[in-house]
């Protein structure tokens, strides 16, 4: 690896980038930036020109003007500016706002720094926030666990290389690539109590319709939880949201697990069979350890993404307090009621929790598998 980089480096210095290529690249980028800005602004004043000049400069000038030795830095400049300005700065910004009492007046410069008050009140006093937090964690745990078990079984099944495997893999892409809000709204129509397909099918079979989207507590678990069933997400409605998530994201894990299964060397199984291992033993001692690290990464990605859930809840229940996950609660606090300080503190909590659990899953599995 080291040698490669150096060889590449020498090659880079030995041959100067011809100015013709740089010219073409710069021209193409200016054209692209111009086209976009033109379409977006359709011809108006200062913003148009500043946008145009800014974008072209950002993309083209450093690359065209930098001396050869520094051109590799010019190459990462546009992406770095984007990463810094649009990904890093906003997170710092949220941290700062979370320490203030920003309300609707913040845009006119009216706010005070109040230390960690927002965090304290969110964790200690605010029932909405606390419920949303517990509910989000319940959501992540339930969906990711079910998805993992389901995906592992189905991946093993599809991996058998039947004639149907390719078709099935293609079909699996449909839920995960489709527009989430549209998918969630389709499910809302399927779940509808009177006219929904699911309840129609049930009544045709002579079974009573299920109140899919209601706050009615679940039969056994919900009764056990009593008053906290809404907080723990043990209602019919919340379970329906989890069903949508499971439907939508199990395919993602199946694809990841399939990719992992493809990397398991076949001769391990042959050796295992010679030693007289049963199917179950082969799975437990060969397949599982071999794909464990891939599985962990897939699960960690799912955990991080499940914490982001917004569309499913929003489409099924709108802004109803009983079903809010953290993302929805942040949205309603900030955008609907303008309590930016509190909402920022809540999003800091969301960030910390999701990162901790996501990386926790990774670290734990690394420790378990010794990789």
């Amino acid at each position: 690896m080291r040698e490669r980089i150096q060889a590449g480096h020498i090659g880079w210095q030995a041959t100067r980038l011809s100015s013709r290529w740089v010219g073409w690249a710069a021209a193409a980028m200016i054209l692209a930036a111009l086209g976009i800005t033109w379409t977006v602004f359709s011809g108006i004043g200062v913003r148009f020109w500043s946008g145009l000049v800014g974008l072209s400069a950002l993309f083209a000038l450093p690359i065209a003007l930098a001396p050869d030795r520094y051109r590799k830095y010019a190459f990462i400049l546009p992406a770095s500016v984007i990463l810094f300005g649009l990904a890093f700065v906003p997170v710092v910004f949220v941290l700062v706002i979370s320490l203030t009492d920003s309300g609707l007046g913040v845009l006119r410069g009216k706010f005070r720094f109040i230390g960690l008050t927002n965090f304290v009140s969110l964790l200690a006093e605010d029932a909405d926030a606390r419920n949303a937090m517990v509910r989000t964690i319940a959501y992540v745990v339930v969906t990711v666990m079910v998805e993992t078990v389901l995906a592992l079984n189905l991946a093993l099944l599809i991996h058998r290389k039947t004639r149907a495997s390719n078709t099935v893999t293609t079909m699996l892409l449909v839920p995960m690539m489709s527009t989430p809000i549209v998918i969630a709204l389709i499910w809302r129509t399927l779940f509808a109590f009177d006219d929904g397909l699911l309840n129609r099918l049930l009544t045709t079979l002579g079974i009573q319709g299920v109140p899919w989207l209601s706050g009615v507590a679940l039969p056994i678990l919900g009764d056990l939880a009593g008053k906290s069933s809404a907080m723990l997400g043990l209602t019919h409605g919340f379970l329906s949201a989890e069903i949508v998530d499971i439907w939508q994201w199990t395919p993602f894990l199946i694809l990841i697990f399939l990719a992992g299964l493809k990397t398991v060397p076949q001769d391990l199984y042959e050796a295992g069979e010679i030693d007289g291992g049963s199917g179950w033993q082969l799975f437990w001692h060969i397949t599982l350890p071999q794909i464990a690290s891939v599985m962990a990464i897939g699960v960690a990605l799912r955990v991080v993404d499940a914490f982001k859930t917004f569309e499913t809840i929003w489409a099924l229940f709108g802004n109803t307090a009983h079903y809010r996950t953290l993302s929805v609660d942040i949205f309603s606090r900030a955008i609907e009621t303008g309590r930016f300080g509190e909402a920022s503190a809540e999003s800091v909590l969301l960030l910390v929790i999701s990162m901790l659990i996501g990386f926790g899953v990774l670290a734990w599995s690394r420790g378990e598998t010794g990789t």
Partner: protein, 273 residues
Amino acid sequence: MSAAKRLSFAAVVISLAVAIIWVFPVVWMAGNSFRPNQEILAVDLTKFTFTMKNYQFVLRYANYSRYFFNSLVVAIGTTVLTVVSASLCAYSLTRFNTGGRLFDAAILATRAVPPAVRMIPFFLAFSLLGLTNSLYGLVLAHLSFNVPMAIWLVRGFLEKVPVTLEEAALIDGCTRLQALRHVLLPVAAPGLAVVAILTFIYTWNEFLISLVLASGNESRTLPVAASMFVSGFEINWGPFYAAGTLILAPVLILTFTIQRFIVEGLTLGAVKG
């Protein structure tokens, strides 16, 4: 039938059933979008009256051509800027190891930040700068989600192209530019296309940030418009199904054209790590 045969037969049946479960809701929507509202609500599977009324409603009265145009501008703008900046960056990262581990960590960490966390700073900053309800602002916001992912993917594709290929070309007297254009670009082109299509789809699908930054009638994108078919507890079913079909059509067409590469792209990070 032998035991093994019966087992693989069962596998085929189960995996086909699974596939049907996963496409069914989308097929249900597309099919129903051509039926009149009364028939959809009756959930009567025995008859099918074909009608284009829902589509007419969506395109003529619900202003969907405008939203379609908005979505297209935002998605194409984001895709062009993302692919250009990300591939330049990834090239520099893979061939010269610019930035080192810190840069890698930054890219990974950015991927894990939930959109809800960026929502507030974007909303406040864009309100101050007058960028709310503007497609330009939406492109900027979407860059922050897509550039890290794109760098990661392009990098994965570029790492698979052996450096020796370029070096051989250099030794043969190519300039670095010629090596780039004639050796690296043809090999990397499919990878770049995949990244472009994925970026397009993700931007096309994005909901939360678009809702927060641009829900005004002039700058509304398709997903936000779709969510507005729900008012209170009512959904206008027929038109919603038609609108949903219009939104999903480009995405699914793109997905099926490059399906093999999508699987590769999605699983790239996981299998390598």
